[in-house]
């Protein structure tokens, strides 16, 4: 149980897919211009990651090593298409604003990376915890980046105006360069946080 919890925790700070492993970055820069988009993308990615890891972990003994990548892609693509269809049917507004980025989950390296590095070698239970941890790590970073960008670039968070009426939105933060800047600051924050946590862990020991 303890090791499962540790697996889960890894993805949030220590091995955060975006801030530490630095994979799946294009979606983090492209859809984080509003909180609703960031959250939707994070949840959709987590869903696909969870089910892909479960299925691949179940079948890991029957997947031949030499054709594992095509099989992974078939499974990931199937779940991504399902998410796309379900979102179109039940959340049409979200689906419209996410546009092309949902189909692009197929080639999101986080999923490919975790499936290859973790699910294809571990049992179902650790794979579930790994996918939830990684998914949560991805989602919180997406929401945090988009909150900063939406607040400064549009004066609102999740569509609720927070800035005084006199506030002139800084368009820079909505545009791609602003995304890079905010993202870079988050990376440095995460490295600082990790350093601090290492220090306290050492002191405690």
């Amino acid at each position: 149980m303890k090791s499962l919890w540790k697996t889960f925790k890894q993805g949030i700070i220590y091995e955060n897919p975006l801030l530490m492993l630095m994979i799946g970055l294009c979606s983090a820069l492209a859809v984080t211009s509003s909180v609703a988009n960031g959250l939707g993308m994070g949840l959709a990615m987590t869903f696909v990651l969870l089910f892909s890891e479960i299925v691949i972990s179940i079948f890991r003994k029957v997947i031949p090593n030499s054709v594992r990548i095509p099989i992974f892609i078939i499974i990931i693509a199937a779940f991504t298409t399902m998410v796309d269809l379900v979102m179109k049917a039940y959340f049409p507004d979200l689906s419209k604003s996410m546009g092309v980025f949902i189909p692009l989950i197929v080639v999101n390296c986080i999923i490919m990376g975790r499936v290859e590095a973790f699910a294809s070698k571990q049992g179902v239970l650790p794979a579930i915890f790994d996918s939830l941890g990684m998914g949560l790590g991805y989602t919180w970073v997406m929401v945090a980046i988009s909150a900063v960008r939406e607040l400064l670039g549009n004066g609102s968070v999740a569509g609720i105006p927070l800035m005084p009426a006199s506030f002139q939105p800084i368009l820079f933060f909505i545009l791609p360069p602003g995304g890079f800047l905010v993202f870079g600051l988050f990376i440095s924050f995460n490295i600082w946080l990790k350093g601090r946590m290492d220090k306290t862990a050492k002191e405690r020991a």
Binding site: S33, I63, P64, I71, I74, A77, A78, M82, V86, I174
Partner: protein, 224 residues
């Protein structure tokens, strides 16, 4: 050889499994997706013509004179059998890809209103076109699509002259204006060919003769 065959069969089995599960999800969600599209379209149609009771699909008999703008469907709004106007759904290129607009054309060939159904332009810039709180005319609270209401198709439709642009989004403003103009022209031509809107303006619905809906497609725009 045998090993390769085994690999191929394994791969095929996974593909079959994935296809089967996808087929199930597709079948379950398909009616819902169609219902959502229909719902969204009907809501915008009613929004454009609040008086409208029924909307007749005339998509087959309308076409666009502008090659870049594609008309996907069009509806004739009616109340008690008398036509009120035409709603034209048109798609054309904009800054962030395809933009889809619904343009309402009155019988007197003025624009009843413009609704943006799909637009993927930059948030905070071009996307302000579909932001109900973004006004191009702050004093009168007129939005970018809102400024087209009441314009006649004979107007020039030139951005920065008779159309107010969105700040720092000239491409979005120009593209959307082009789509509105093309859709309105196609709609007006259809009305003319259907004898619903005689060349002279200021016609009321009372002059409607009743035989128009069966008229054939406008010839002038077809072919090339």
């Amino acid at each position: 050889m045998k090993g390769t065959l085994k690999l191929g069969i394994t791969l095929a089995l996974f593909a079959v499994g994935a296809c089967a599960s996808l087929a199930v999800v597709y079948t379950v969600t398909k009616p819902q997706i169609e219902a959502q599209d229909q719902l969204a379209l009907e809501a915008s149609l009613r929004d454009l013509f609040p008086e409208g009771e029924e909307f007749e699909d005339i998509s087959a008999s309308i076409s666009s004179a502008n090659d870049a703008v594609r008309i996907s469907s069009a509806f004739l709004a009616k109340r008690g059998g008398a036509p009120l106007g035409l709603a034209v759904k048109a798609a054309g290129p904009s800054y962030g890809g395809q933009a889809v607009l619904l343009v309402g054309v009155e019988l007197n060939r003025s624009i009843a209103g413009v609704r943006i159904l799909e637009l993927n332009d930059t948030a905070g810039l071009g996307a302000n076109a579909k932001n109900p709180g973004y006004y191009v005319d702050k004093a009168n609270k007129v939005t970018f699509p809102g400024q087209f209401a009441g314009k006649f198709i004979t107007d020039p439709f030139v951005v920065k002259s008779d159309v107010v642009a969105i700040t720092a989004s000239t491409i979005t403003s120009t593209s959307l204006t082009t789509i509105v103009k093309a859709a309105a022209e196609a709609g007006a031509l259809w009305l003319e060919n259907s004898a619903l809107a005689p060349p002279a303006d200021q016609n009321s619905a009372a002059s409607y003769s009743g035989s128009a809906a069966s008229e054939s497609a406008p010839e002038a725009t077809g072919g090339n």
